[in-house]
Amino acid sequence: MKKLVNAQILKNAPLTRDIYELIFKSEYLAETAKAGQFAGIYLESESKLLPRPFGFCQTDAKAGTVRIVYRVVGGGTKILSQYPEGKTLRVLGPCGNGFTYSAQKRVVIIGGGMGTPPLLKLAQDIKKANSNAEINVFSGFQNAQQVILKSDFEKTGAKVYISTDDGSQGYMGNVISLIKNVLRHNPDGGSALPQSPEIIFACGPKVMLKAVSGYADETATPAQVSMEERMGCGVGACICCVTKTNDGNGEAYKKVCAHGPVFSSKEVVWNG
């Protein structure tokens, strides 16, 4: 059940030049949030009314803390970045549906830029649910300055592969060519490779998710993708953050905040 909670900021500091780490106290959210779900943070601003959606990056149920990693991209995140420790935030959550993990052993996680943070919680939760899971994380960024959470992923026991657009760290190119390279994907499109994953989870820009979906189709691997769209209420009321889907009953706009943000890659109409 979604709640509106008052959460005290424990930490709000830059990880890189414009990417911030926010840790706040909320026992309720720390206990209930699932990977892939998100929190809506309200700004104390007369001019900016809408909640800002952020995927849960990490939760600690014992300590009752929630970690969010965000990038300062506009006026709202700028205001958020200036909030001091000790300040109380109004936070809505947990919102959305989250990823569904069902004990698969070979897991591939694909992140793009600021789509990466929610995947950390996913990797941690998968390891908790199944310590035998083999997780390969493929994470793409613009450049080395934007690379985040690499060591956090490694701490879960996952293997982490980085790509950057300019080659300043890791593989030069996009994350899909990285994954094909690493998994030595069969160019004939076969899916019987020994390393082929049983499930793919992805979060990132739509163009990346579309490529992930194509890769999943080529390798006949099920994929769950976390979509992003300009959002209003965060609870499914305003019907603004829609994405075109087809679940077999024809095309329809589904709400990213309520039906998603996680969808099966097969359900999303990528050219819609």
């Binding site: 509106l4 209420c233 019907i239 603004c240 706009y253």
Partner: protein
């Protein structure tokens, strides 16, 4: 104890607070936050005789003190509403107002007819949506068309009919009078104000639909003015809306001549907004020793 009850076309609301159509879905989405039994009425998202897909995204843009939307009345159709949403709403001790939309007079009339046998307390005729290529606002910008659609729908509606007016007109009183003359039982205003936002980096409109409807605190002075003007030229009750976030905002509309008020975009900024507005009205009445809501009048 203050008396908050109001009468809208013979339907008694326990208090004057309802929701603006399209901002509260069919109530379910806010039931985690708001005790729906406490609301005077719930006005649901617009329904049409057939399912509507709505406009492509992006459908929303935040603006200074408000937001633009271009949803385009996406809804699963009146049958799905009756089957899936109405049973949920009926569990609560609140009045149900169903907003109906259409592309043509016939579509509006069919939706009204389909709802005539259902447990719905009031209908709200949406002739003011700015996000449709056909219908919607077109009916609300022309007194003759407004008159005709209201008269047509009145033939089929069994519940009292509220007509929701658009602010995107030169003289809202003309449309208000036309609706009253055609048999409207109440009016609600304002719907959103047509607006636009451009992304200067991409050099493109933010909304896929280019233009959208502006709502939120930014539009409140326009809404108060229009309620004030309209209340002075019609006899039927008015549900006032447009940027109401607090009890004080609601009282401003009541003073302008509204009988009831609707909370809209404020729900997005604060899921408890409806309750906060209601509590704020009570506090205002107590502080000013006003026993009856209808005694909130301009000095």
């Amino acid at each position: 104890m203050v008396d908050l009850s109001v009468d809208i076309a013979g339907v008694k609301l326990k208090n004057p607070v309802t929701t603006a159509s399209g901002t509260f879905a069919s109530g379910k989405e806010y039931a985690d936050f708001v005790d729906l039994n406490k609301l005077g009425a719930i006005t649901v998202k617009g329904v049409s005789i057939t399912p509507w897909q709505g406009n492509p995204p992006p459908r929303i843009a935040e603006t200074y003190g408000g937001l633009l939307n271009s949803v385009g009345l996406q809804n699963p159709g009146v049958e799905a509403f009756i089957k899936e949403d109405l049973p949920f709403l009926k569990q609560f001790d609140t009045k149900i107002i169903v907003n109906i939309c259409g592309h043509t007079e016939e579509e509006y009339a069919e939706a009204a007819q389909r709802l005539s046998t259902e447990a719905v307390d009031l209908l709200e005729l949406n002739i003011s949506c700015p996000n449709l290529k056909k219908g919607g606002i077109a009916f609300g910008q022309n007194p003759k068309m407004a008159h005709a659609v209201v008269r047509e729908v009145k033939k089929y509606a069994k519940q009292p009919l509220i007509v929701k007016l658009s602010p995107n007109v030169t003289d809202i009183t003309e449309i208000a009078k036309a609706a009253e003359d055609a048999g409207a039982d109440a009016l609600s205003l304002i719907n959103t104000i047509l607006g636009m936002q451009i992304d200067i980096n991409r050099r493109r409109p933010v909304l896929y639909n280019v233009t959208g409807g502006l709502s939120g605190p930014a539009v409140k002075p326009v809404a108060v003015r229009m309620v004030y003007q309209t209340a002075r030229c019609v006899k039927i009750p008015i549900i006032g809306m447009g940027g109401i976030c607090s009890g004080g905002d609601a009282v401003e509309f009541l003073l302008a001549g509204a009988t009831a008020v609707a909370v809209g975009s404020a729900n997005f900024a604060n899921p408890n907004a409806t309750t906060d507005v209601l509590n704020g009205i009570c506090e205002y009445m107590q502080k000013n020793s006003i026993a009856k809501l209808s005694d909130i009048k301009l000095a």
